[in-house]
């Protein structure tokens, strides 16, 4: 096997790291990715994991729930080790102080990648290189960072926003033995094998369009749809009263459509007559009202389709929205969701947002290695 996965619920950082390492023994490990519940001390678990792996780079983040082959977990650490048949080379960059200084941080990271690989980011072959982004889920910097990355390179960066078990207090990203808050970890991988992506969400387009006519982009707030207070327009679209709209937020988010593909924007809360979203909505954007569907069934179909077109896979990293996890928990379907990944080495976590070309919600973005 070129990718191995493991998990542990040992409560002690040193113990959990040792148990993960024991399960991931293989020759020629090139990198170790791990996702840890925020129940663990972030500094201690990152240091413990790196201590187990010596000079082999480790990276990861805190979660709002963990995913490993066949299971959805809570209060655990999950890990994935890669050997040289998957990762030819890799370089980690940490972006600090991202709530204030995105452009310089991305520029600095990209310069380090260019120096390491001796290739300009703009010239890197998007079929040979792939990026992973793990980002503080409470800094509100995802859109700006993904914008900067997308402007400067054709290399795809896929990832998720770190969680803290739905406490919304503090999240961490991990790199090479340290833990960081208000930060992002970018990992640029030169792949030794083919890779591909899955982006899946479970929604039907209801063909009702809401145009954001007044927004406060910095606050991720829509003040008006179609020239009307956002709460009234949304209430009319879903067919309810303004007082009851928050009951519809999870089942009826809106999607920025690219063809038939929604880039989901999930409403978070009502603020006066506006609606605050979990990701940015820009003025003039046409958003389609969506209706939630069958997460487990759609995930199985997306996996089956990928296996048919891409062939057998060595492993999957799944960045899975916490809102999907909460819906699965409400419907007692977490075991079924986990089982969808029982035949493929998989790690993942419940995120505070998913990154795939931009920042999105209520989606699973997955990196798939052949």
């Amino acid at each position: 096997m070129n990718i191995k996965t493991a998990y542990s619920t040992n409560k002690a950082p040193n113990g959990v790291a040792a148990e993960i390492k024991d399960q991931l023994e293989m020759n020629g490990v090139k990198a170790m990715l791990f996702f840890a519940s925020s129940q663990y001390d972030a500094d201690a678990v990152s240091a413990a994991m790196q201590s187990q792996y010596g000079d082999i780079p480790t990276f990861g983040c805190t979660t709002a729930g963990e995913i490993v082959s066949g299971k959805m977990l809570d209060n655990s650490v999950v890990g994935m080790a890669f050997n040289g048949r998957i990762i030819e080379d890799m370089k980690i960059a940490v972006l600090k102080n991202i709530s204030e200084n995105v452009k310089d941080a991305v520029d600095e990271a990209f310069k380090s990648f260019e120096a390491y690989y001796n290739t300009k980011m703009a010239d890197m072959d998007f079929r040979k290189y792939v990026g992973i982004i793990l980002i503080d889920g409470l800094a509100g910097a995802e859109e700006q960072i993904m914008d900067q990355i997308g402007d400067k390179s054709n290399v795809m960066f896929i990832g998720g926003s770190a969680g803290d078990d739905v406490q919304f207090v503090k999240t961490h990203v991990f790199a090479e033995g340290k833990a960081y808050s208000n930060a992002a970890v970018l990992v640029l991988i030169k792949a030794a094998t083919a890779f591909d992506f899955i982006k899946t969400q479970s929604f039907q387009n209801l063909n009702k369009v809401l145009v954001a006519t007044k927004v406060d982009a910095a606050k991720r707030e829509v003040l008006a749809f179609d020239g009307r207070p956002a709460v009234e327009a949304y209430a009319d679209a879903v067919g309810t009263s303004v007082d009851a709209i928050d009951e519809y937020f999870m089942s009826n988010p809106v999607g920025l459509m690219t063809g038939d593909e929604p880039y989901v924007r999930s409403p978070q809360r009502v603020e006066g007559s506006g609606i605050v979203f979990y990701c940015n909505v820009l003025e003039g954007m046409e958003l389609s009202l969506l209706q939630s569907g069958d997460i487990v069934g759609d995930t199985r179909r997306a996996l089956d389709d990928k296996l048919k077109t891409f062939g057998p896979v060595s492993g999957i990293i799944n960045f899975h929205c916490i809102l999907r996890t909460l819906e699965l928990k409400n419907k007692s379907l977490t075991a079924d969701y986990g089982l969808a990944f029982k035949d493929v080495p998989t790690v993942g976590f419940s995120t505070y947002g998913e990154e795939f070309l931009g920042h999105i919600n209520q989606t699973s973005t997955m990196l798939v290695f052949k």
Binding site: D147, D151, N154, G284, E286
Partner: protein, 66 residues
């Protein structure tokens, strides 16, 4: 005048994708996520100076001369 916005967006996609189908789609999606949907503009779309200025800024950030 009309059609400049459509031409600018198409040119960004052309220069960035260099004919590659995957890059054509990803560049188009990046533009949509920035609020500029190439499919919403045609050769008859009015030349809004405000939108044109924003698209020039996007092109500059992408390192594209239009």
């Amino acid at each position: 005048m009309a059609g400049q916005i459509k031409r600018m967006l198409d040119e960004i996609i052309r220069q960035r994708a260099k004919g590659d189908h995957t890059l054509t789609q990803t560049t188009k999606t990046k533009l949509i996520l920035k609020g500029f949907n190439p499919d919403k503009y045609t050769a008859l779309s009015e030349d809004s100076p405000e939108v044109i200025k924003k698209i020039r800024a996007v092109a500059a950030e992408m390192g594209i001369r239009i």
